[in-house]
């Protein structure tokens, strides 16, 4: 993008100094003009904002407040809502036999998916930053899955994971390695790893792009200077690349964590939260309670807990960033 350079420091309004004799009337007229244009500006601003803000207030902000309020009620849609205060939360955290499992499942997914995703996409991004031809083509290819519906890709992965009859993965294992593959989606050991693997394939391309953009923005002269000083590849990576890439890493990390807490589509298609509740994640549990059993208040409670969890984790990341993220020019 070509930026037009300003050719002078001339400010917009400079009509010359008012003459002493017409001082008073001139300023008043100017005053009035300024005030009018200020009101006009406000008016225009609100007009511009109106379509977006009406929708925002209504569908986003208002909904958020309703969600919190709803968590204080017990409501199954066909009967009138019943105010229960914090009962839902108490029930969720102490009496619900399933919530702890759901929470653990979600954390299992997050701690499994995020580090693998970051390592994989960082590795590929760095690899692609070297002397590679058609690097943009490779980046685009890695990115393709991100742009497709999770439902579509989950279906083909379900096909590959299929146990009876044998899907591609088990057939390959049997034919090439002579191993009898497990029931990927139906065993309590393999169900979550299967979901993680599919999600990894699906999502890593996004961070490849983010990190690639970050790597591209690192000025070359740092590397050249280091090369002159005799730095090895590893030293260059550790002392130059990582610190200067850290803003992108931070961004990628925050976003990946937030989206991983919300995994839903692939769980719905691959395992329906099963076997048992072994792959039921927080969003899936919210959906089940809200839209299969129609316990609206309780579902709102679960989603609020999810929101708080995400907020806490994200805030923690923001606090910790001072330690490792370098924002330099």
């Amino acid at each position: 993008m070509i930026v037009k350079q300003p050719d002078s420091d001339q400010t917009s309004v400079d009509r010359g100094a008012p003459s002493i004799h017409s001082n008073v009337s001139h300023i008043t007229a100017k005053d009035r003009q300024l005030r009018l244009s200020k009101w006009r500006e406000q008016g225009i601003a609100y007009l511009f904002l109106a379509p977006n803000i009406l929708g925002f207030l209504f569908f986003t902000l208002f909904s958020l407040i309703v969600a919190f309020g709803l968590s204080l009620f017990k409501w199954s849609l066909l009967t009138p809502p019943e105010f229960t205060g914090l009962d839902n939360y108490v029930r969720l955290l102490t009496k619900d036999p399933v919530f702890h499992q759901v929470l653990l499942n979600t954390l299992y997914f997050v701690f499994g998916y995020v580090p693998l995703n970051m390592l994989l996409s960082l590795g590929i991004a760095i690899w692609l930053s070297g002397p590679i031809r058609a690097k943009n083509l490779f980046r685009i290819i890695m990115f393709l899955p991100v742009m497709t519906p999770a439902v579509g890709v989950a279906l083909v992965w379900m096909l590959m994971y299929n146990y009876t009859p044998s899907g591609l993965i088990n057939q390959t294992l049997a034919a090439v390695f002579h191993i009898r593959g497990p029931n990927w989606l139906g065993s309590d050991t393999w169900a979550m790893p299967s979901v993680i693997l599919m999600s990894l394939w699906y999502g890593f391309g996004y961070n490849v792009l983010v990190f690639s953009a970050g790597l591209q923005a690192i000025p070359q002269h740092f590397y050249e200077a280091a090369a002159i000083d005799g730095a090895k590849r590893w030293q260059k990576f550790w002392s130059i690349t990582l610190p200067l890439l850290s803003p992108s890493l931070f961004f990628g990390l925050v976003l990946t964590v937030i989206t991983s807490f919300q995994v839903f589509d692939q769980v719905y298609i691959l395992t329906l939260g099963g076997p048992g509740v072994d792959t039921t994640t927080l969003v899936y549990y919210t959906y089940q309670n809200g839209f299969t059993y129609f316990h609206m208040g309780y579902a709102a409670t679960i989603s609020t807990v999810l929101f708080l969890l995400i907020m806490v984790v994200t805030l923690a990341q923001f606090v910790l960033q001072k330690r490792w993220v370098h924002y330099e020019v």
Binding site: E41, F59, S63, N136, P149, G152, M160, P165, V283, S303
Partner: protein
């Protein structure tokens, strides 16, 4: 002499390394692409061959007809139409309203500007799962269940687009507009003739992500759509699941169609992607 041969060995080593590097990358790319290829491959197989052992890579008789059969088996035409209406309508709505609002936040002074923007920012982190319950109740109250409005509107007013464009507009030098203001141009005119043409990469990125977001969205249509003729593609795809699970080839044909817009758009708009990520701060800088 010695240094020359040393230089040549170095060159050979580098070249070998490059070949290995490229080959490995090609292999990785193939692994990434493989599920899509498998999807297409299965879509073209006759149903009995889907789980055949050993797996056949090339179908015995290419069933392009499966793509047609998908249309008659389930109302797939409806699915595509609905997805198009929702994604195009939603993207247009987002682009228009976000540009207007972003310009107001970026350039105009008005009462409550900063508080309002802060509220926008705050909602960026809110997961969809929290909003779907009250939004569903809202839609139900308005009587819009199972309609296009329900599919488009709640998702069209998140703060993301406004935030993105506002950040971008702020990087445009204000001098460009000031001369226009002196000349008497309206704010709308300025937005249309000056700001927007300079923002094509940001708009491109926003448009791409918004379109794909609508196209791929599953949770919300799952909640708000009641009948098969109002379903969008992801919702329609999972309808194959509950039924004759043996109709894998039809299901894969449908899935292939569902991934096409994403793939096509990425290739068309790829120039904007890396550029756009840098410029709009999506890369964190």
């Amino acid at each position: 002499m010695k240094s020359e041969s040393f230089g040549k060995t170095q060159e050979v080593r580098l070249r070998l390394g490059s070949i290995v590097s490229h080959t490995l990358l090609i292999i990785v790319s193939l692994i990434v692409l493989f599920p899509f290829l498998w999807m297409l491959d299965t879509a073209l197989k006759p149903n009995g061959q889907v789980f055949q052992f050993p797996p056949t890579l090339l179908p015995s008789s290419t069933q392009w007809g499966n793509f047609l059969a998908v249309w008659t088996f389930l109302p797939f035409g409806h699915f595509i139409l609905n997805s198009l209406v929702v994604a195009c309508g939603g993207t247009l709505l987002v682009l228009i309203t976000s540009s207007l609002a972003a310009y107001a936040f970026a350039r105009l002074k008005f009462f409550g500007r900063d508080t309002l923007f802060f509220a926008y920012l705050g909602t960026l982190m809110v997961p969809q799962a929290v909003l779907v319950i009250p939004e569903f109740l809202l839609i139900r109250y308005l009587g819009w269940v199972n309609s296009y409005q329900a599919l488009i509107l709640p998702m069209a007013f998140t703060a993301f687009g406004t935030f993105l464009l506002r950040q971008f507009f702020k990087t445009i030098p204000i001098e460009l507009e000031e001369s226009a203001i002196i000349d008497g141009a309206s704010r709308l005119r300025i937005l249309w003739s000056i700001i927007l043409p300079l923002s094509t990469s940001a708009l491109g990125v926003l448009g791409l992500f918004t379109f794909i977001g609508f196209w791929n969205n599953f949770l919300w249509p799952l909640i708000v759509v009641n009948t098969a003729d109002m379903a969008t593609i992801p919702l329609g795809l999972q309808m194959f699941q509950g039924q004759n699970g043996t109709q894998w080839s039809y299901m894969m044909a449908g899935a292939t169609v569902s991934i096409l817009p994403g793939i096509i758009l990425v290739f068309i708009l790829q120039r904007y992607l890396v550029e756009g990520i840098n410029l709009t701060g999506l890369g964190g800088r």
